[in-house]
């Protein structure tokens, strides 16, 4: 277990070193987040501010995710760390964690843009809102990162196959949508105890466990 986390930290450190040196993901996010947020805020009525926020996060996440796995691509088209002498579930898990951290940056930028242009006022719902946002991002990251890592090895149809993965996130959207709706009608404790919130949490735990294991199985020949 100790080795597992030290290897995860090592891969994460590598990703952060590359990120601080090249700043590619960050510049990508700084351009993409306000653009998408502004586009959505223009077309959706401002009464549905929570929905606008989540819609922005969802679209940005789908677009950004494809970048993550590309960092591991070598000139031959194979993932650089595929031949590494350790369990590949570690690689997948660290990539998921890296993407979750990037998701928090996405949330931060989108939140700031929304606060500026629409005077987003959350008051006492802030903790529950952040909890739902985090759960939503973790599940989304687990599914998308696993599949984009897998599909980077597929030439030609890879991008199309990634679009076919999108239906897998619909259950997440339904649960997140139901949780967000309950923010406006329930107290914080009631939201925490609601089925949608607990199912979202259960989904996250399940996916964080299952996706890295499945990834290591997918690479075996």
């Amino acid at each position: 277990m100790r080795d597992f986390f030290s290897l995860v930290l090592l891969i994460l450190k590598k990703d952060f070193v590359i990120e601080t040196r090249e700043k590619l993901n960050l510049s990508y996010l700084i351009i993409l987040c306000p653009t998408i947020t502004l586009i959505i805020s223009i077309f959706v009525q401002s009464q549905a501010i929570f929905m606008e926020y989540f819609l922005s996060i969802l679209i940005i996440t789908l677009l950004v995710n494809q970048r993550i796995s590309r960092q591991e691509i070598s000139t031959g088209g194979e993932l650089i760390l595929i031949g590494a002498p350790f369990d590949l579930s570690i690689l997948c898990f660290s990539k998921i964690i890296f993407f979750v951290i990037l998701s928090f940056i996405i949330h931060l930028i989108v939140f700031l843009v929304f606060s500026l242009i629409l005077s987003m006022n959350l008051n006492s719902d802030l903790i529950i809102f952040i909890s739902i946002s985090c759960l939503f991002s973790i599940g989304l990251s687990a599914i998308l990162t696993t599949f984009s890592l897998m599909l980077e090895r597929v030439k030609g149809e890879g991008q199309f196959m990634l679009i076919l993965v999108y239906p897998l996130i619909i259950p997440f959207l339904v649960l997140a949508h139901s949780s967000i709706l309950s923010i406006q009608t329930m107290t914080s404790m009631e939201v925490f105890e609601s089925f949608s919130f607990q199912a979202l949490l259960a989904f996250d735990i399940l996916l964080l466990t299952v996706c890295p294991i499945l990834f290591s199985y997918s690479i075996r020949r």
Binding site: I143, T146, M150, L151, R153, V154, K155, G156, E157, G158, F160, M161, L164, V165, P167, L168, I170, P171, V174, S178, F195, S196, A199, F203, L206, L207, V210, C211, L214, F215, Y217, S218, R220
Partner: protein, 210 residues
């Protein structure tokens, strides 16, 4: 496994299906409020049973394929998904036919309806994903897709009880809310649809061999 029962399935299916049709239209009482349209419910539940079995078998064969790399499991997983998708579509269509005279609308955003539609989209996508992954030389990917897609199935069942919508709960905590004659008819119909499922799987496997 199912191929062992190949010769006994057809007579069993014929007996159960005839009994089921007799019970649905003669034995089961007419529902007081909904009238005769309620009889579609027995078929509706039969379809649900078939897709539940089909998707569970799809999951089992997908896990087996990942562990053993035996192509037969991959093929069987695909066949079960095909049958499952057809019966999920039948569930949705029969539900709509039932809903129109009862609720006055073909479709509503009831949690159970929505999650069943999601299930249909997921496995319909799986069929495409399977073909593409085989073409790309990475058949294992479709098994991984199937395992993650299966996570949605329990939500369909839980949603009807927890996220209370307008869909009825048949097998509730106190034995459900239907008359004993209706329950007998339902059980016989579900038996008939179980044999129909095994028969269809047999037929599809034979078709694949030829």
């Amino acid at each position: 496994m199912f191929l062992m029962f190949q010769k006994t399935i057809l007579p069993l299916l014929a007996i159960f299906m005839t009994a089921s049709l007799y019970m649905i239209f003669q034995y089961a009482p007419k529902e007081k409020i909904m009238g005769d349209v309620q009889r579609i419910f027995y078929f509706h539940m039969g379809y649900v049973l078939v897709f539940t079995f089909a998707f569970t078998m799809n999951l089992i064969h997908s896990i087996r394929f990942l562990r053993t790399n035996n192509k037969l499991n991959l093929k069987l997983a695909y066949i079960h998904a095909e049958i499952g998708v057809v019966f999920t579509l039948l569930t949705l269509v029969s539900g709509m036919i039932w809903a129109k005279p009862v609720w006055g609308t073909w479709w509503t955003t009831d949690p159970q309806l929505t999650t069943t539609l999601i299930l249909f989209i997921l496995y319909f996508t799986y069929l495409f994903f399977h073909k593409l992954s085989e073409k790309a030389g990475v058949p294992r990917y479709s098994s991984i897709f199937a395992i993650i897609a299966f996570i949605d199935l329990p939500i369909v069942y839980i949603s009807v009880r927890v996220m209370r919508g307008i869909s009825p709960v048949v097998f509730g905590g106190k034995g459900g809310g239907i008359a004993p004659e209706m329950m007998d008819t339902l059980l016989v119909t579900m038996g008939a649809f179980f044999f129909l499922y095994i028969y269809l799987i047999n037929l599809r496997v034979r078709l694949d061999k030829t």
